[in-house]
Symmetry: C2
Subunit: 503 residues, 2 copies
Amino acid sequence: MKLKAKYFDVDVSEPIVMMHDDDCKEIGVQENDRVRLEAKGTATALVSMSDTVVERGTIMIPAKTMTVTGAKDGSLISVVFAPAPESVRSIRKKMDGEVLSKDEIFSIVRDILDTKLSKIEISAWLTSLYINGMCIEEIADFATAMVDTGERIVFDRKPVYDFHSMGGVPGNKVTPIVVSIVAAAGLMLPKTSSRAISSACGTSDFIETFCDVALSAERLKDVAESTGGALAWGGAINLAPVDDMVIKIEHPLGINPRAQMLASILSKKLAIGADYLLIDIPMGVGTKVPDIESARAYARDFMDLGDKLGMHVECAITYADQPVGSAVGPNLEARESIRILEGKAHPTSVAEKACELAGIILEMGGISNGNVKAKEILNSGAALKKFKEIVEAQGGSRDLKSEDLKPGQFMAELRSPKSGYVHGIKNKDIVAVAKAAGSPNDKGAGLLLFRKKGQRVESGDVLMEIYAENEAKLQRAVNLAERYQPVDIQGMLIRRVSVPNIK
Amino acid sequence: MKLKAKYFDVDVSEPIVMMHDDDCKEIGVQENDRVRLEAKGTATALVSMSDTVVERGTIMIPAKTMTVTGAKDGSLISVVFAPAPESVRSIRKKMDGEVLSKDEIFSIVRDILDTKLSKIEISAWLTSLYINGMCIEEIADFATAMVDTGERIVFDRKPVYDFHSMGGVPGNKVTPIVVSIVAAAGLMLPKTSSRAISSACGTSDFIETFCDVALSAERLKDVAESTGGALAWGGAINLAPVDDMVIKIEHPLGINPRAQMLASILSKKLAIGADYLLIDIPMGVGTKVPDIESARAYARDFMDLGDKLGMHVECAITYADQPVGSAVGPNLEARESIRILEGKAHPTSVAEKACELAGIILEMGGISNGNVKAKEILNSGAALKKFKEIVEAQGGSRDLKSEDLKPGQFMAELRSPKSGYVHGIKNKDIVAVAKAAGSPNDKGAGLLLFRKKGQRVESGDVLMEIYAENEAKLQRAVNLAERYQPVDIQGMLIRRVSVPNIK
């Protein structure tokens, strides 16, 4: 049927048109069905039915879709029922627990990219993946499909080393140190990182406090090939755009299906042509990987996928029962990280983890005693030199010093209400407090831990300092910290277990 | 933060506001998160982020939401992050295969009703239900929750008899006959039916060709209490509004989770206070219930649920390998149904099924030899008399005759390309052809079958007549019929199975 096209100022992640109930009835479409619009060009859109905001005989079309059809505001446009894409049938198969073929997986990924699948359909896809999972072959196809729908970087310098942390542990600021050590040893590690999704501070969130992270593919290639390292934000490069689209649907559901996560990580590594890949699997209470069994299962999957995808993969299961180091929040993490490169006083956990990871990468590159070598490079100042070279190549200052990075000017101390020992530090609560203080958007926001697990505390000791850029956020963070008590203090006697008195 | 409210002409099933990317960043919300809007009143809405159609400092709010907040176009409104409702956690639990408590199920149903859950979340809920299912206790709670969120009808006349067909078989026009027989026997059966969702013609779609179906609760009560019967459209009464909302999300996914279906059926029966309920389970190739095992499983679930919900439930597994009777489409089905009441020539399958179902209901009401009694009532003309009484009470004509109902004026015959026997009639293809012809919106559209399963056919015999209200739709239906060949003709030799020649 012909309807009068009308502009409609909307920008939503799926192409929606609004039609009158009676027009929908006439062409036989229902809410969330699709219609094909045809004027000079054609477009497909999802139907939203209304008998209030749209008149009979009229169809409201968002600007983007209008442009594709070549119709003008007020002109007539042909509107007919359009079937759902074939990929919806493949989603149904995954709901039924079937194994999908490479073609089916590719068509789902392609249709997500082309916004041919609706939010409802993508949500059903992710929920099915979450419940029914994928086998290794499917995940390998999935990763390949995600690479094929994104940008690739082909380095002239070979081989390409890379590493990735599964995340989930706050304060994990090892990236600049690992990259600097590895690059100083003569290997090339063009690291791309992400911003925080649910965490308090992603690697890119703190790197951008001292240099550009939004590098184009071209510039990332230049920086890495000239310096051997890079500290880029993956989001700027469009390596796996489908992943970013899917995250928007995962986020409100609070799920990250294992198959999606594995495919997403590996697709980004495939896209930069990584030959050697180290996966850091932080294991600890309150992280994605709570115990050694699940850590081992992840490691096995990563290595199997590496085999299928022609990439040499090794894994490191790392300690994550509490934050890595003391600082959480952009400027604070940047400062702590650079202090270690500068050889200044620092918490041992960060330097140790960085050298362990760098050591494994060096050994993958044929350098023996990797951990010892990594420490030498760090202690000799060679890593700092390389770090400054990378920072300068990314538009930062060659004279960058850790002291340049200032915490927010509003600070509050959290003191221990009692004496005892630190029984545990709750990662999730640490993240919540840092976020309440404004991290990662307010660069000075975050917290510094003064006690770690196992340490002795006297009543009144400062457990942490909380920093913020304004007083309201500081107060919000302090309130949360007081309520949550993220640092758990116990006496040597944790609980008395006795036989109840029988009267 | 304070943003300038701006009207936004949209009417979608979920409350969406559009905000600029940078404003979202500042208050810490992401796409598909929620914000709380506060002016004179408060409202919660889902965030859609844009850096094109909305300026910084502005928030675009649909009229409905604007009204709730009491803000005016151009006035400042307070916008803060709002957490997802608790029910999202319960959806997560169902994803993880857990059993939900009554409170959890009630809060999900309540939040769907109040549009507090987004399409993404409802899709995840339905997908989880589809994959992980529900136990009988959960389904009973689910049905109760759906009743509690809708309208109820309390009849003064007791007891209330009811029946429901699970559907899936085309041409199932028994309702007016069953209702008329049962009411003529002195029992009260206030039947509510639905319109077609995916079928060619729902019961209400053909009943409305000769009387009103959109009865209010009040009027349904009057009609049923005075005549003993009713032929109403459930959709007009708001018996289980959540069900209608959920169907919009199920529809594009092409799923109808068993738990949702069972709860939905029983909630509508609870809402009218049914004491005795007969469930018709059509079993056959190409229906929801393909074999006797699944038919029995449904029957068991219905009866278990009846026990939990205090309703006497019986089930009838009925033949559904091919359409019931000859006619498919509103006027055609109405005509066939009324012809049976009039005692005119008719296909035996419809009358037989109607009397079997009516007979069971009569027996539930203490009348022995129900089937024999039902046939007597039909053959004596008492059912026709009662039928006309009901039709008149629902605004139809007392002089209604089957001939009043005319098929569409455009007709084409589908002839058999060969001689043989009708090996099968494909229900799904029959539905597709009738829909292509315009059913159920074009009341004259549909088809008449001239051969049924097992019958002898000569080449050139008319297999069916296809009716439409315009030539284009007729042609579309004929093309489909020729391509699908819904009536499958085979010789006595169906396939020759031989040992291949080995060369």
